[in-house]
């Protein structure tokens, strides 16, 4: 069994993915920016109305009122472009691992392929989250420069002595813990996707989505049952070093087990 990882072969495994997807990777930051543009300029939204229908907010007070009343945390869903991008980037390789004689006879070990794939998807995910965070902060800074003073003046005019703007408005970036949850959710789904591609030879993406729906429904029923039957007064803290460490360890274990299954499935695969 090839347990030794060669740096050269690992680089080649990554190079395969890079050369096949470099245009997609280069365009990824632009795509995320485009998603932000679509989000903010979606017809019916306050920014769309402000820029394309100035009469909608004829006074500054009307605009400030709308700005403070509009919650925009849903923009975090732009991060779902990351798993879509990852599927587009990795599906050709995973299909070749299922079917291609040349790919399976290329002198790269399954461990190196698994590692290469893991590094690539983590890299793309980090790139996506980094771009999202950067754009979000820049856009929020820009909106703050344009509208923050107006919003504070509006609140003071309403009699609010200690004006407090909700963190869910466009004047605050998405909180780091929400980004963290989104990042973890993407990383949780990826191993399941890889396993689906190697276990289901046909219609793998549809079957993966079906599996996902089943898992989500099962989870929803379980949580509903759990909350309906909860009688205990014991609360489990989710903040702090120990729970965070435990969460990270559990995630890492899940990833390791899933990718180990992926690795062993590759070993058993006949072409």
């Amino acid at each position: 069994m090839n347990k030794h990882v060669s740096g050269i072969r690992l680089v080649i495994a990554l190079k395969e993915l890079w050369i096949s997807n470099r245009i997609l990777v280069y365009s990824f930051p632009l795509i995320i920016l485009f998603c932000f543009a679509i989000y903010y300029l979606w017809p019916g939204g306050i920014f769309y109305e402000k820029w394309f229908n100035p009469k909608a907010f004829s006074t500054k007070e009307a605009w400030s009122k709308a700005l403070l009343a509009t919650y925009t945390t849903q923009r975090v869903f732009i991060l779902f472009i990351i798993p879509i991008y990852l599927v587009i980037c990795t599906k050709p390789l995973l299909d070749r691992l299922n079917k291609s004689e040349r790919t399976n006879l290329t002198p790269i070990t399954r461990l190196e392929r698994t590692l290469g794939l893991t590094l690539f998807v983590i890299g793309i995910t980090c790139l996506g989250v980094a771009c999202f965070t950067l754009y979000d902060h820049v856009i929020v800074a820009w909106f703050n420069k344009l509208y923050y003073e107006e919003a504070i003046r509006y609140l003071e005019a309403q009699g609010d002595l200690y004006p407090n703007i909700s963190r869910q408005t466009v004047l605050f970036p998405i909180q780091i813990n929400i980004l963290g949850i989104a990042f973890m959710m993407i990383l949780l789904l990826l191993p399941l996707y890889f396993l689906s591609l190697v276990f289901f030879r046909k219609n793998s993406v549809i079957l993966f989505l079906g599996l996902l729906v089943i898992i989500m429904i099962t989870l929803a029923f379980f949580l509903r049952w759990l909350f309906a039957h909860e009688t205990s007064h014991i609360s489990i803290p989710i903040q702090g070093v120990f729970p965070l460490t435990l969460t990270i360890l559990l995630l890492a274990s899940y990833w390791y087990l899933a990718m180990a299954t992926f690795y062993h499935k590759l070993k058993e695969k006949e072409i």
Partner: protein, 280 residues
């Protein structure tokens, strides 16, 4: 060296492909693997290189179990498939990415083969025709200098000058350390290259014999011979397979011989009477 012992194989539908095949293929030969459509030629090649796993029995290639697909084994094997499966990159990118994986890769040899095939390495593989992509794959395969080279219909899609080039390249390529197995229906393209025949028929390897040994036992002659082992009507009269009782040299007609084996399966028994080796 390829050792096949009591190999049996079937696909998931339980339709048998091979039943208890044994063979020993040694280096320094170009093997011609022949058989009717669907008999399992490609499957045989896949079992040798580890793409498929034996159901029973063993396959050992160069001291390795191919099914384990160890990287040391894979770096000394290349399989030229009938369907050309190359990435849609430039030839240079393909070369730069994968050549480091083969320790005996000869880049100047690759360039000279490509030049002989009249393909420019700056071209994008996806913009090449099927035949041109085949040439790139063959050039890469030969340049790897692997000790085991498997080829499935290598001349399919090649133009006539390229087939001539291919024959010249293969004749120069073989050495005492290399084994080449070519599976083909287009025997006329490579009949002068092959020095050992493997014929698959009805789940068995019915023939595993060198052309030299076969030529000592049978000869091929046109004309009318009532005692011919096998006769086939040709454009200029009958073509016959006769026992070579007088040790006469004749050009070995592989196509006629294969037709004889295929159309008259009991012909091998007749060959047995002239001390002929088979695997039944």
């Amino acid at each position: 060296m390829i050792e096949i012992n009591n190999l049996s194989f079937h696909y998931k539908n339980n339709v048998g492909i091979f039943d208890n095949i044994s063979a020993a293929l040694s280096a320094g030969h170009i093997y011609g693997l022949l058989g009717l459509n669907g008999v399992g030629k490609t499957t045989f090649l896949k079992l040798i290189c580890g793409l498929l796993f034996p159901k029973t029995g063993t396959v050992e290639t160069n001291g390795f179990m191919p099914s384990k697909r160890e990287v040391t084994f894979l770096s000394d094997v290349y399989f030229v498939t009938d369907e050309v499966d190359l990435p849609p990159w430039t030839i240079s990118n393909f070369l730069d990415t994968y050549s480091p994986l083969y320790r005996k890769f000869d880049q100047s040899y690759f360039d000279s083969i490509l030049a002989a095939f009249q393909v420019d390495r700056r071209e994008k593989i996806k913009s090449l025709s099927y035949g041109q992509r085949k040439k790139v794959n063959i050039a890469f395969a030969l340049a790897t200098n692997t000790s085991l080279l498997l080829m499935d219909e290598p001349t399919n899609g090649l133009d006539i000058p390229s087939k001539t080039q291919f024959r010249k390249l293969m004749a120069r390529h073989i050495s005492s350390e290399k084994t080449v197995i070519i599976s083909t229906h287009q025997i006329r393209d490579i009949h002068n290259l092959i020095d050992h025949l493997l014929i698959l028929q009805e789940q068995r390897l019915v023939l595993d014999e060198s052309l030299y040994e076969l030529s000592r036992k049978i000869k091929f002659q046109p004309g009318t011979y009532p005692n011919a082992l096998y006769s086939e009507a040709g454009l200029n009269g009958n073509n016959n397979i006769l026992p070579n009782t007088d040790d006469e040299a004749s050009s070995f007609d592989i196509e006629l011989f294969f037709n004889a084996i295929s159309r008259q399966p009991d012909l091998l028994k007749k060959f047995t009477n002239i001390n002929f080796q088979n695997h039944e």
